[in-house]
Amino acid sequence: MSKQGISRRDFLKAGGAAGAALAGATPLGNLARVAAQSDQTINVLTVGDPWDLALRSVTDQFTEATGITVNIETLGYTALQARLINAFLTQSADADVIAVDQMWISQMADNGWIRSLDDFIGMDSDANFDDFLPECLYSLSTWRNQVWTLPIASYAQGIMYRTDLFEAAGIDPLPSSVADAGMWTWEDYFGILEQINGMDLDGTSMYGTTVIGFQPVPVVHMYSQLSASYGTRWFTQFPEAPWDFSPTINSEANVAALHDWKRLYELSPPESINYLWFDAGTRYSQGDIGMFFHWTPYFYLVNNEGYLTGTPSPVVDKTATAVLPTLTAGGDQVVSLGGWSLGMPSTSGNQEAAWQFIKWATGAEAQKAMGEVNVKGHQFADFSRQSNYDDAGLNEIYPFLDTQLEMMKLGDGKVVRPPAPIYTSLEGVYGLQINQAMTGAVSPEQALETTETLFQNILSGNQMIPYGIESFDDTLENTKALQASLSGM
């Protein structure tokens, strides 16, 4: 292996040039035309999330319409990441379409591992690109003013609570709309938890809430929502230009958030320190949790007793959803917006067919069909398009869609968990320190002080402080402008 002292700037330039050359060399053809009765086969690598089950159930419709056979292979999160990186490094055409976590976009785009979809979108009016919620595109799919993926499943965060418990405790229903949430604060949230914690409901002793405590990734997913609501920002300046990755994680806001996170843990089952995402959802489904906040897929997942088991949970028809509270009455809100999107590896030899699949799977019709799949219950409501949220049939199946849409529109995946290069390393140390604070091994102040030092070391060690590469003013407004431009508006 040769080792040359190239700079990252040179590398990015080379990657960009290679990407452009690849795009130019690809016969895009008339992308609006469906590849009728093609005998092509494409390989799709996805991740084991609920949307994967729904997608598999409707993929035959794509094959019937286009003649393109789709091989879907589903992997776990870590296995998918490892498989993709190995494929990219060895330049092997492992898949034609891949599921991309929002955190991988910067790495994959900057390295030229996936190709920009701008050309495809711009030349294909069938994509109905203007129908996407710009917040979803911004959080999941854009990087440096290009669209690299299209969202297949977007997740915001919101509250689920037991209506029967609230009734027994004489607590008013929570606001399901931002318009009604003017006075709805985190302090109110804690007040309710303290009131319901330990209550007896039909012979069951209730916990106020449950947290996701497992380190490092799961705990960051839940904690970062609370801390963002409290005003925490990770860096001095990002995503607005010029980027300055000097860490600001050890702020007063975050110290307050971590103290309150510990309060949340005290009102949760002690074993929730080891809970993954679905452990928390399943625990709520089992009936001894009063209220919790989580990713919006759990709005429907809690209807099952276990994770995708198909057995109705005891909390069906006893659960309502609500919007997240703010730190102060009527104050600003930032909602975590994450999820999965579909991208195209630069090495794919079937780029036209791959685009047809991406366009179809993220399109309004396929998304609706996924939402209507009833295998083990209805298991997909993670829409990214306005038309799906307006659909009467889908609203009947998923009555919480209005609340979910409001949370989506307050979503900002680039602030709550900023997808900066080396985010994974930062998340690793952050999650560990939050978990350490939960165990009581360190105080919240010590945990965040250590986090800030580690952030500084990691960011400096990776040449990100000072940031020597050109920044981009990565704002929602710029994504809206890009969306309008690619939609021909």
Binding site: K3, G5, I85, Q215, P270, S425, G428, N435, A441, Q463
Partner: protein, 296 residues
């Protein structure tokens, strides 16, 4: 005549050459490759190729950005305590088997079963058994009044590492028992009979005859298991993922995090070399003390 002499002298080297080449390719090359990488900044999150020569920065970063010391402490605890427990439990079972009680044949067959499980399977098995809400083992322990932490054994910082050690001990004690039992069978009974005639107690015979005669086997077993425990990953990954906090972080788990989650190849290479040095020092010290008097 001279040609034949030269040929005879070179033949052993020629016969050994294939093995030496394979050994070099499989051991020295990867180590040299890792050593080389440890001096380069190579993070796949930042780019697919090494970006620049970074000297000893990666070694410095091992201590600055990873929980190295706590992982080393946990790894040593797991290695020493696990090996110690497995050796003595295994010895006890081997001695019991050697008494030729009824059913020892069946016991031997049953004993080997945990060892045949993949560690990841054993991990999942115990994860469910130790589940705080409905775990069978936890329920049984609570039933007999055993103090169970509210977070469960895997969620408590004081018991997480011990739980990993206990599962490993459950799985690997039979291995010790069966190999030591084979060792016991190889001991000449006449030696024991002579000691009995001289009036030696069972305790004295164990310390002065059985144990010294088992030493060649025991020394090897202990070394192999210590090295395996030092590199434990599967059980840690499945049972606790190093948590809560850093309570059960081990060096292997650190390597996994940096190499296969953070994709920091340079840093991982530096950490690998530190682990190689630590294991080599421990094993060579062990071998020095064990083999310095080659009485057997």
């Amino acid at each position: 005549m001279r040609n034949r002499y030269t040929w005879n002298r070179r033949l052993p080297y020629l016969l050994l050459a294939p093995s030496v080449i394979v050994l070099l390719a499989l051991i020295l090359y990867p180590l040299a490759f890792a050593l080389c990488n440890s001096f380069w900044f190579w993070n796949l999150q930042m780019g697919p190729a090494p970006l620049y020569y970074s000297g000893l920065d990666n070694y410095r970063l091992v201590f600055q950005v990873t929980p190295f010391w706590v992982a080393l402490k946990n790894t040593l605890l797991l290695g020493f305590l696990g090996t110690f427990a497995q050796f003595w439990f295994g010895m006890g079972i081997a001695l019991l088997l050697h008494t030729h009680l009824r059913g020892t044949g069946l016991m031997r067959a049953l004993l080997i079963m945990p060892t045949t499980l993949a560690p990841v399977v054993a991990g999942f098995l115990f994860r469910y058994l130790l589940e705080p809400k409905g775990g069978l083992l936890l329920w049984a322990l609570e039933g007999i009044g055993f103090p169970v932490p509210p977070q469960g054994f895997l969620g408590n910082a004081n018991t997480a590492l011990l739980s990993i050690g206990a599962v490993d001990t459950w799985q690997w004690t039979p291995f010790f028992a069966i190999v030591l039992y084979a060792g016991l069978l190889s001991i000449n009974e006449e030696v024991k009979e002579a000691a009995q005639v001289d009036g030696a107690s069972a305790w004295r015979m164990f310390w002065s005859i059985t144990l010294p005669l088992l030493r060649p086997i025991a020394a090897f077993l202990v070394m192999i298991r210590f090295m395996q425990l030092f590199n434990s990953f599967d059980l840690v990954f499945v049972l606790t993922s190093g948590g809560p906090g850093t309570a059960s972080r081990t060096l292997s788990f650190n390597l996994y995090r940096e190499g296969l989650v953070n994709y920091n190849i340079g840093l991982t290479a530096a950490m690998t070399w530190l682990v190689v040095i630590i294991v080599s020092v421990i094993i060579n010290l062990y071998l020095f003390f064990i083999y310095r008097k080659r009485e057997w």
